[in-house]
Symmetry: C2
Subunit: 88 residues, 2 copies
């Protein structure tokens, strides 16, 4: 039971990024996302991934690899925003 709660929690906090990516791609902008939020989260999730690799935990590795991928997509749009702004 307790492990089920952990699994569902992990699935949710990982997949939660999907609608955020959808929203950013739809508007072709990550304007409302804080760049610092993305940077801190990306470093944090990378460390969780490292933690999972050292612990040899497939669940941690898959969940955090997926979250990291999502954060990199969001970061890509954020960088695009900055370039667009600077060109104006």
């Amino acid at each position: 039971m307790i492990e089920l709660i952990g699994l569902v929690a992990g699935a949710l906090t990982t997949s939660g990024y999907i609608p955020q990516i959808y929203s950013v791609i739809k508007h072709n902008s990550a304007e409302g996302l804080s760049g610092l939020f993305l940077i801190i989260m990306t470093i944090g999730i990378s460390l969780w991934l490292l933690y999972g690799i050292i612990q040899n935990s497939l669940a941690l590795i898959f969940a955090n690899a997926f979250s990291l991928f999502c954060l990199l997509v969001l970061g890509f749009y954020k960088i695009k925003d900055y370039y667009r702004k600077n060109q104006k």
Copy 2:
């Protein structure tokens, strides 16, 4: 060492919400945040909090209680956005 990586990872993925809250309060809008992202994350983090309470893990409880508080603040601004839109 491995526990240190976990601690730093947890501290980062928790405190990452602070600049996002700062950005939302500054603009008085959570326009760029996906509502579904906030809903899924809030449920996910609540389950992580429940998991921490059952596991009696103070680290999990503190980290997720703080994240939950941050998500509720962001959700509050998102709801404010919806009301504002509907009034127009």
